[in-house]
């Protein structure tokens, strides 16, 4: 039997022109694979190879990259993931969003390590990639269809062995925070759905038969068994037993739960939308991604056949952030976002911002008030179809603030245009730094600095320069996790993450990877994202927080204050330690 040139990789990517369906198979040098691994790292490298960072994110020439990883298809738990990388139409900076699960396996079996889509189809299309052969079919009949209907329809027509990634109406209407959906999960942040929509691609269907071989299959299987066993332990129990939504009451108790567009860190009605309460009145089932042993998904019933996958970020964004205390509304709003293909964090953030503008008399939409269930659901519908005020809100809070004027930009809850996740920056100040310097904007997935705030390493309400090295460490870990790709919910099971990552890579690829090498790799990946941003026009002034968070204490906690000078010093130290 012939020895493959590479283990764990195919050593090439597909470049597909959506204008005519032309496909090229482009080799990727092994040195590049070793330097950037896969997922976010490889995607960022391909983005720079294939596109101009200064170009419009929604231009036909702007690349959209689906990047797989060497671990995809292996027996390693949680490894069935893919990264979607592009320039963000929301931030005009790099965007990398991750999702699970079957699409990653089927996409890689098309015989490639990534798929790069360029161009623009003449009309709404479905891109079908069958073992590496590409065809475009009309999607006219799917125009306006929700993500689940699109997927179900295509699976019914093409066959269940196809895996589908699709956009909903929001992606078709270039909502700047539209998602790409797959199996109810979303490459959620930064508007990759709008980028796919700009190419007139409603959905991508993949299937394939080409498997990679592993360098040391027996050792890989043994290691994978051990990792799976550890994944059943206490480090993942929170996700398994309660899901991420369990954060809600904890954050509320610590005064770190963003409420009414960050006007408070506590929500009086938090208990009513907590998972502890919702499960007493709604049915609940658990689910997991393909090839995952954690099973973090908690799906709540809404009295019909379809459940709602509820995560903390959706719960805070569509709950406390908008002042919503009715659990049914939060569940319905979350489902609506999933159907339309909208990022729940940016939707909640932008709508909450608009609610505050209405409260201040700066936006003439009197129905759009904090706490109104009807208003939230109506606003999401309008955003998804860019109707009425939804056309403005589909632009995200930063652009909406520029239109609304007054001093509203001071409390538009965003960094670089990306709406802030559910971590109050004044109460979690290492996270505040992570938000400020994030390559794709305010982001809890590329910086896990909140972990540091939940420890004795720092005083979460009085960050000092010592917090910087901790923030960098979590960012580096995330960069490697997002490139390998494995689930961040596993991070607690690793004693030495970089050493174990080297073990995994050795078994899959045969490389003599070491922990030190992978620390450098992580920094290289963070660096290439910065390089893209620099070429796209990044300036240091972007690494900050909105004025609301600076020099003004959190109303419910006078000790939670971060001054502009303090944040500037943290950011400067961050740049210094990064060597920038």
């Amino acid at each position: 039997m012939e020895t493959p040139a590479l283990f764990g990789y195919h050593g090439c990517y597909l470049r597909i022109d959506a204008s005519d369906g032309r496909v090229d198979r482009i080799p990727i040098p092994e040195t590049v694979l070793r330097q950037f691994v896969g997922g976010s790292g490889l995607g960022a490298w391909l983005l720079l190879e294939e596109g101009d960072p200064a170009a419009d994110a929604l231009a036909p020439a702007a690349p959209l990259v689906f990047a797989f990883s060497p671990l995809v298809g292996s027996p390693l738990t949680t490894s069935a993931k893919f990264a979607v990388v592009s320039k963000s139409p929301l931030t005009n900076r790099i965007n990398d969003s991750l999702a699970s699960s079957g699409f990653a396996i089927a996409g890689k079996r098309c015989g490639c390590d990534a798929i790069v889509i360029l161009g623009r189809a003449a009309g709404p299309s479905v891109m079908i990639i069958d073992d590496g052969c590409v065809s475009l079919e009309t999607a006219e009949a799917l125009r306006g269809a929700s993500c689940p209907i699109t997927e179900e329809t295509l699976k019914g027509r093409l066959g269940a062995d196809y895996q589908i990634a699709s956009i909903g109406p929001a992606g078709e209407h270039a909502v700047r925070y539209a998602t790409i959906s797959h199996g109810g999960r979303h490459a959620g942040r930064g508007g990759s759905g709008a980028v796919l929509g700009s190419k007139n691609v409603k959905a991508i269907a993949v299937r394939g038969t080409q498997r990679c071989e592993w360098a040391h299959p027996r050792e890989l299987t043994a290691y994978s068994r051990g990792l799976s066993k550890r994944s059943f332990g206490p480090a993942t129990a929170k996700y398994r037993e309660l899901g991420t939504a369990a954060n809600l009451l904890t954050f509320n108790r610590l005064g770190a739960l963003p409420t009414r567009n960050f006007q408070s860190g506590t929500f009086d009605d938090a208990a009513s939308i907590s998972p502890e309460e919702i499960r007493t009145t709604h049915s609940r089932t658990r689910a997991s991604c393909v090839a995952c042993t954690i099973g973090c998904e908690h799906i709540y019933g809404l009295g019909d056949e379809r459940g709602v996958r509820l995560e903390y970020e959706s719960l805070f964004a569509l709950g406390s952030l908008c002042g919503i205390s009715d659990p049914n509304t939060v569940l319905r709003a979350s489902r609506l976002c999933d159907d339309l293909g909208i990022d729940t964090i940016s939707a909640g953030g932008t709508i909450a911002f608009a609610m505050e503008c209405v409260q201040r008399g700066w936006l003439d939409e009197p129905w759009l008030t904090f706490g109104s269930s009807d208003a939230l659901l109506r606003a999401i519908e309008l955003v998804g179809r860019r109707e009425g005020v939804g056309d403005l809100l589909a632009e995200g809070s930063r652009r909406a603030a520029e239109t609304i004027g007054h001093e509203s930009i001071a409390f538009a809850p965003q960094v670089k245009g990306l709406e802030i996740p559910g971590y109050e920056p004044r109460a979690l100040q290492t996270m505040a730094l992570g938000f400020a310097v994030g390559a794709r904007g305010a982001d809890h997935n590329r910086s896990g600095a909140y972990e540091v705030d939940f420890s004795e390493k720092v005083d979460r309400r009085h960050a000092t320069l010592d917090a910087v090295r901790h923030a960098i460490e979590t960012e580096d870990k995330a960069a490697l996790m997002d490139s390998l790709i494995i689930c961040k919910f596993l991070r607690g099971v690793f004693e030495d993450f970089f050493a174990e990552s080297a073990d995994m890579l050795q078994r899959v690829t045969g490389w003599d990877a070491t922990a030190d090498e992978l620390r450098h790799t992580a920094r290289r990946i963070v660096g290439i994202k910065r390089r893209f941003n620099l070429m796209a026009g990044w300036t240091r002034d972007e690494d900050t927080l909105p004025a609301r968070f600076l020099d003004t204490p959190l109303p419910n906690d006078p000790n939670a204050t971060i001054s502009r000078r303090q944040l500037d010093a943290l950011v400067a130290e961050y740049h210094r330690q990064r060597g920038w």
Binding site: A237, R253, E276, G422, H444, F489
Partner: protein
Amino acid sequence: MKSGMHVELLGLPRERAGVADLDVEADTLGQLLAALAIRFPSFGDMIAADRLKPSFTANLNGERFISDPATGLKPSDSVLILSADAGG
């Protein structure tokens, strides 16, 4: 003289205990955790002797996080026991 202080359980600890809060007599964090381990056998995978295992953490009065079993506690204190992992 031991004193009763307020203990708040959040997330998984609350799930395991079946109660949201309780009063416990203890002068130190170590004593408090040992008392909780006896009262709630379901805390077996959370507490080793007088320390929380790495997946869990303790917070004093909603302000600072603590782990040293010798950390002194006052009757007016409120101790939060929660998951260390805040990822969402």
